[in-house]
């Protein structure tokens, strides 16, 4: 099972469609401060089903829709798609390539799709449950958050362990 592609349009600073073809091995993402690197991490969290705006550095979910720039208009929708190649059939679906899409409109309406068929958010969240991948998986480590493992109270650390153990 591997991550194959990430497609972002209208999510945070990605005002134009951006496609990341992901290869095997280790991929590095680089660029100056504020260029959008952590926004890619947020996009991955979001498409996997993140429902808490503060985990995406926002105060409400609308914050993640491209708000425009001094020279570009805002967009009316945010869309992120993640494609997983599942040759070992670890996911409970009959496809080799599984493409998950999440959309949020400024109207507040949301859409969730698996291989272009509409589904519920719950279906996306449950899809990866057995693989250990989820929007708040310990495998997605946000900027500046690694310290919390050590500095948080013993009871809070527990939450982190419970997800793995």
């Amino acid at each position: 099972m591997r991550l194959k592609r990430i497609e972002i349009l209208g999510f945070k600073s990605f005002g134009e469609k951006t496609v990341f073809e992901i290869n095997d091995g280790t991929t590095a993402i680089v660029g100056p401060n504020g260029c959008g690197k952590s926004n890619v991490v947020d996009a991955i969290r979001w498409v996997l089903g993140e429902q808490s705006p503060s985990k995406l550095r926002g105060s409400n979910m609308q914050d993640i829709i491209f708000n425009g720039t001094t020279s570009l208009k805002p967009l009316g929708m945010a869309e992120v798609s993640i494609t997983i190649e599942d040759t070992e059939n670890k996911l409970p679906l009959d496809y080799i390539d599984i493409r998950i899409t999440r959309r949020l409109f400024r109207t507040g309406e949301s859409q969730y799709l698996i291989n272009k068929k509409q589904c519920r958010l719950k279906d996306i969240q449950e899809l990866f449950m057995d693989t250990g991948m989820s929007n708040d998986s310990y495998a997605i480590m946000a900027q500046g958050k690694i310290d919390q493992l050590l500095t948080s109270k013993p009871e809070d650390r527990r939450v982190f362990f419970e997800e793995a153990a």
Partner: protein, 165 residues
């Protein structure tokens, strides 16, 4: 569930003792349940002693030592339950050069099971990447990406043929 947690916790604990000592080139570390009689609710205590130093509260550790200890703990959980992909956002930021190299060695030992997406500002980390995405804002406020793969691959091919001679 109680037995499962206790068993997994013990494995993570064993991993932590090994990985910490590996990352720090010595020293000792441990995790324990504060209340051994309350496995399902107990908070978790962390002890970390870098090489040559005496055992003290982890709050006294340096910024880099805390980060490296947290990385050891994170990878102790990975070892128990590797995820098919993982996103790490600027984990190397507080580390000095030699600790970055140790972190990268540890990372490499996990790449057979996990696809890593690493966000970094460090040239040292960049060297171990198989593929690189540069993100820029040619239009201020608008993120775009440039894949830096071909150069990387070419350099690797040239190095391979040079090494053969």
């Amino acid at each position: 569930a109680k037995d499962q947690f206790a068993e997994n916790f013990e494995k993570i604990r064993q991993n932590f003792r090994e990985i910490f000592t590996l990352l720090f080139g010595g020293g000792k570390a441990d995790i324990s349940l504060i209340d051994e009689n309350d496995i399902l609710e107990s908070g978790i205590e962390i002890m970390a002693k870098p090489p040559g130093k005496k055992n003290q509260t982890i709050s006294l550790l340096s910024g880099g030592e805390k980060a490296l200890s947290s990385i050891a703990l994170l990878f102790s959980i990975f070892k128990l339950k590797p995820s098919f992909f993982s996103v790490l956002d600027e984990l190397d930021a507080p580390l000095d050069e030699s600790n970055i190299l140790r972190f990268l060695d540890l990372l490499k030992s996990f790449t057979d099971k996990t696809q890593f997406l690493i966000i970094t500002h460090s040239k040292t980390t960049l060297k171990i990447a198989d593929f690189i995405f540069g993100i820029t804002m040619q239009t201020p406020g608008l993120s775009t990406t440039v894949s830096v793969n071909l150069q990387k691959k070419e350099r690797k091919e040239k190095k391979k043929s040079a090494d053969k001679k």
